[in-house]
Symmetry: C2
Subunit: 406 residues, 2 copies
């Protein structure tokens, strides 16, 4: 008799964004309201830029021609893309990362879910609280969670690193043992950035304890301030302790095109084994490379034209963020994020719980956001809005919120 | 201190096709030989058909236009594709599979590697021998393998189902307990097909023991004979015991475009849980959908024009297979497969081992094939050639083999 993976039964509720989508669908089906403005899920709305669609068309033509057709891609990514990444995202920033330390994939979500596989079952996992749910759920599926505590909404074997206004949403070093530490900066969901000095503490901690940091840099394109690291490899010692995840979704709008990459430096070893060789083996066994046409689209993001067009898109979303943040602040809300991030993180008004505010915002203002508690116990009393919508929607949403009594 | 997943250290050698690529690269770099003909890896060579490139261009234009841009795809696949699959691959064959039992992905390799995750660690895994290495390696990574036996090249916790000329490359039912059974028909690597009567035995066995069959139907488009099932759901009772994997790689040449799907019927439950809900949760947590443009390309495969063009490609490869099989047989080789399959499976001549024949074929005839022993102990003494090359290459390869003394 086949037995299921019983860890799945310990997963709490369904995946956050599926739960939100269901609530919104039910509301729409039962209410004849004005248009719903979606500032919930972190999905982009601007179309792919011209440099990218041009590269896609060209690559499709190649795939339709016998002389230029390409079958299986190299498991780890085409050299043309790995070289462009190494040059632009690392060498240009003075970081020592080479092309053969870069693994191209179908996106940072897949990589952030799969990366835990190369670690043993007994590692203690530390996550920020609130946190992007994939880090937690993928480790529950792998059985690293322990027992669920209903009262606190936490699992006994995870180390939770509280992030709140008190510490500027950058957690203190753990007091408990932690072997694998997930950090995401600029942060999803809080929109907070981390300074080089603060990140250095984590690298030093990991190098002193042997912990490995999984650093999610999916939002680095939104950094506007000086002194904020774009990659953890700007920090001395990171090559010995950190894996970094990157996305093309938020900088270049590839949410529906799927492309990302993960960096595993050669200097990162545990138990005498290069983690890079384990990740390479996983890629080679369970993955067959990102589509050629999508890798060409990724390459185009690094062309002079692509860089300019992509920067315009990021600036557009950052302007939305500034508008939402500034106006909600002026209206009396307590607001974080939105400066080095497309996410605005606000205190719910009137001591409403996160889901109560979600329901009120949907029913009174027809706006969809994301309840902070969906990201962890310490997200309770907070709420995430994204700047990925249209400018008119940001204006309309702010106007609706201002005229609503919560 | 982070600890690695020590199961990875039990993986044998590197992934077969990486090992072959390395040998060929080394040979090319040290020999100034005539052109190498590659009949090794199962990669297609014909360009994407017109219906597919047309759909890709159209979808790229949609992605470049604000009014038609699409962000995150539904995790489980777009309805337009799931409906086309349900209609054409199942309903048209009288099989009761609905769109919401179909999960679109980036390919059958990923799915065949990932599917084991929804099962517990203690299940006993049965695989054919020889076998597609991903089934084995992904279960080693998950720790279901036990101890390696150097003398036999087998792991203590796997059940190996010998497939050889004696049983027509269709294994006997296992005598030992087996909880998860991987079957692939038409078979990779042997090119053998399974009859409905033979497959019915496996479905009945699984339903009587509670085992689950992972049925890999990646090569079903190559079936030319009557009475050979295109899907396991042609067999009564399969909805209660079987998961099926499909690929767009071999029928439509999507090896470099990446698209596949997995069927998990609602009637498939173990321990009171629908396996479908577990796979949906895995998809939702660790995957973010196949690219919109690629899903549109997949839809085009089911259009009248797409069906015709894709059938022409399959017929072209089958003609290569027929040529290679017929001529090698005439030249005195013992040859299997190549009738319902793009793979030709031959006995190595003169009692050469599989890797000895690989080396001889490369050094004497400059042809690359795949050593049977790379697929398992019972593949020793066999060798796989694929029909995915150019027709001229099939002719040239046969001519070279005929004039070579092994």
């Amino acid at each position: 008799m086949a037995d299921i993976n019983r860890n799945y039964l310990d997963l709490q509720g369904s995946y956050l964004f599926s739960a939100i989508a269901k609530k919104v669908r039910e509301y729409s089906e039962t209410h004849d309201s004005r248009r719903i403005i979606r500032l919930g899920i972190g999905d982009v709305t601007l179309p792919l830029c011209h440099a990218v669609t041009e590269a896609l068309h060209k690559a499709v033509d190649e795939m339709g021609n016998a002389a230029t057709f390409r079958g299986y891609a190299p498991d780890l990514g085409y050299d043309f893309l790995r070289n462009a990444i190494a040059e632009n995202d690392f060498k240009a920033r003075g970081c020592d990362i080479s092309a053969d330390e870069i693994f191209v994939s179908d996106g940072a979500k897949s990589d952030s879910g799969n990366i835990q596989e190369i670690f043993g079952p007994d590692n203690i996992v530390a996550v920020c609280d609130p946190v992007y749910p994939v880090y937690v759920d993928s480790n529950i599926m792998a059985g690293r969670h322990g027992k669920y505590n209903d009262a606190t909404g936490t699992f006994s074997r995870f180390v939770y690193l509280p992030c709140d206004a008190g510490n500027g949403f950058c957690p203190d070093l753990p007091k408990e043992k932690a072997d694998i530490i997930y950090l995401c900066y600029p942060n999803n969901p809080t929109g907070a950035a981390i300074t080089k000095a603060e990140l250095k503490k984590w690298v030093d901690y990991a190098n002193s304890t042997g912990a490995v940091i999984i650093y999610d840099a999916a939002y680095e394109a939104y950094i506007t301030e000086e002194g904020i690291p774009h990659t953890i490899y700007e920090i001395e010692g990171a090559r010995e302790c950190a894996i970094e995840l990157h996305s093309f979704s938020k900088n270049a709008g590839f949410t529906g095109l799927r492309l990302g990459y993960t960096v595993v430096p050669k200097d990162l070893k545990r138990g005498g084994t290069e983690l890079r060789s384990l990740w390479a083996r996983r890629h080679g066994t369970k993955y067959n490379g990102a589509p050629y046409i999508v890798q060409r689209a990724g390459e185009a993001v690094y062309s002079p034209e692509g860089k300019r067009q992509v920067a315009e898109q990021v600036a557009f979303y950052l302007n939305n963020a500034k508008y939402i943040r500034g106006n909600l602040e002026a209206a009396g809300f307590t607001v974080y994020g939105g400066v080095n991030s497309p996410y605005i993180w606000l205190k719910t008004p009137g001591n409403l719980s996160s889901w109560e505010f979600f329901d009120e915002l949907l029913s009174k203002a027809q706006i969809v956001g994301t309840p902070g508690s969906g990201f962890g116990a310490h997200g309770e009393g907070y709420f995430r809005l994204t700047a990925f919508g249209k400018y008119e929607d940001a204006v309309e949403a702010v106007s609706r919120i201002k005229e609503t009594a919560f």
